[in-house]
């Protein structure tokens, strides 16, 4: 118990004492996972909407694959992304392994199916007659999609939160493709693993507390947006 309190005290010391290394690690976590969430938002909402609004043979299989992808194990993603990015691997010429970009790629792969799956469900649960109504009022197809996305904005923001939550907390892929390099790819989760291994439990607890606070802050912001009063 004493250890936990000590860790929490240390966490606040590190945050408010403006420990440069801890701030850098925290900001890097936010940048990498934020960027990956943004990419997966773009890909996932597009794919989810397209899947929700179209009917074609094999669609059900594709939807099942997306839903399976929502539970894609990060270590599997990490393994395949690192094999692809190896110097002598298929994408080795890009020289991306052990860079934040590699982490963004891996995290995007993890988050995209989550966002796709939730977007798909969000659009599909809108009343089918709404589409007909919008089109009957003379809207173009794009205008209809925009209106539908607006109608589904609550679950879509939930998709963003789920995607972000999935990647900011992820460690397996990050350590494999990032390498936990100090000053470059060390993020909160990988630093926590390392400090635990070193037996620096107080610092590990401090980093965990910072991770929780960061995740809370981002989700609080998103929730504020989600729950904002509709101006009518």
């Amino acid at each position: 118990m004493e250890l936990i309190w000590q860790g929490i005290r240390e966490a606040f010391g590190l945050i408010f004492g403006f420990d440069a290394e801890v701030w850098r690690i925290s900001l890097l976590s936010l940048r990498i996972s934020g960027t990956a969430t943004f990419i997966s938002l773009f890909l996932g909402v597009s794919a989810g909407t397209a899947l929700a609004l179209t009917r074609f043979p094999g669609r059900r299989l594709l939807v099942s694959l997306v839903n399976t992808g929502m539970g894609l194990p990060p270590v599997v993603v990490g393994l395949f992304v690192s094999i692809s990015l190896w110097r002598n691997g298929p994408l080795g010429v890009l020289g991306l392994l052990y860079t934040p970009t590699a982490m963004i790629i891996a995290q995007s792969v993890i988050a995209t199916p989550i966002v796709t799956g939730i977007s798909l469900a969000a659009i599909q649960q809108l009343p089918p007659k709404l589409r007909l109504q919008i089109l009957a009022l003379g809207a173009t197809r794009w205008q209809m999609v925009r209106l539908l996305l607006r109608e589904a904005r609550l679950p879509l923001l939930a998709a963003v939160m789920a995607g972000f939550g999935g990647v900011i907390s992820e460690v397996g892929a990050s350590i494999m493709v990032g390498g936990n390099i100090k000053g470059s790819t060390r993020v909160l989760t990988t630093a926590t693993v390392m400090e635990t291994g070193r037996g620096n439990f107080d610092i590990a607890i401090a980093l965990s507390v910072i991770l929780l606070l960061l995740t809370f802050a981002v989700n609080y912001l998103l929730t504020r947006i989600q729950q904002a009063e509709r101006p009518r």
Partner: protein, 284 residues
């Protein structure tokens, strides 16, 4: 309107984040950085936290330190996925060099392995002496039913441990009293401490973590327990993408007089004894 603005704002923040990544991190050009594959012990003790920034400052190169077991570090070298290795698995290193995977292998430092375990010492290995002490100690652990926990990750420590069991003529793997973590030295020491297991550890990592471990050194000081670290430059002839100049710069740095002095003094203030002994230029 408000809602739209907030959407745009949040999207804007995310894009801003993406753009904030410094360009040198996005595309790491091959001649400005090197990949150092090393053992967990050099990272877990904190030695690299001291040496790497000094080297980066001196050379202007960025070092990507990947701390894994010696086994994995050498596999990375064999595939040309690392430029320079700092490892402690001599037999495997000799094989590595014989296969032409490395261009130069130089002695850097040593410490030694120790058998640690709970203070109660159920197998009574404390006090075992003699030239074949480690054999007797392992025999006592096996006879007493351990429990013994192994790294099990093909690291240098694991390789050494397997060698010791072999010398003692004991098949440990698969026995009920023998378990494996598959983790680094620090993590394995934590497990051993929590569960009251015996394990083989390098003295450096043990000393660095001693304050939080309920483990004591129960056997030490035998010549066969020496733990020797070499720096190996990976062959560019074999893998053209290897940064040979950067690797050589790092290897030169590791054996330079100033660095060797830092290694010899590392840990003395904190743990009362050096964690590593500098060896550069000495005969094997």
């Amino acid at each position: 309107m408000m809602r739209k603005m907030k959407f745009v704002l949040s999207a804007g923040i995310l894009v801003f984040n993406a753009l904030m990544l410094p360009p040198q991190y996005v595309f790491a050009a091959d001649d400005t950085s090197i990949i150092l594959a090393t053992t967990t012990s050099t990272q877990d003790t904190g030695l690299l936290d001291l040496l790497v920034p000094a080297f980066e400052k001196q050379s202007g190169l960025m070092v990507k330190t990947i701390a894994v077991g010696s086994g994995q570090a050498m596999t990375m070298g064999q595939r040309g996925e690392a430029d320079v290795l700092l490892v402690h698995s001599p037999e495997a290193e000799v094989k590595f060099m014989a296969e032409g995977c490395g261009t130069a292998r130089r002695l850097v430092m040593h410490n030694d392995f120790v058998i640690v375990g709970p203070a109660a010492d159920p197998a009574r290995i404390k006090g075992i002496k003699g030239i074949k002490g480690s054999v007797d100690a392992l025999k006592a652990i096996a006879a007493g039913g351990g429990p013994f926990i192994s790294r099990g990750d093909n690291s240098g420590t694991h390789t050494k441990e397997k060698g010791l069991w072999k010398t003692a003529g004991i098949v440990a793997e698969g026995q009920a009293w023998y378990q494996q973590t598959g983790l680094g030295m620090g993590a394995t020491l934590n497990v051993a401490s929590e569960k009251g297991f015996y394990t083989l550890a390098d003295r450096g990592t043990y000393l660095a973590m001693k304050k939080i471990l309920a483990l004591e050194i129960l056997f030490e000081g035998e010549k066969s327990l020496l733990n020797v670290y070499h720096v190996i430059e990976v062959s560019q002839a074999k893998w053209p993408k290897v940064n040979a100049a950067g690797a050589k710069a790092f290897a030169d740095f590791m054996v330079a007089d100033a660095t060797q002095k830092v290694i010899g003094g590392f840990g003395v203030d904190k743990y009362g004894a050096p964690l590593f002994f500098p060896d550069a230029g000495k005969a094997e």
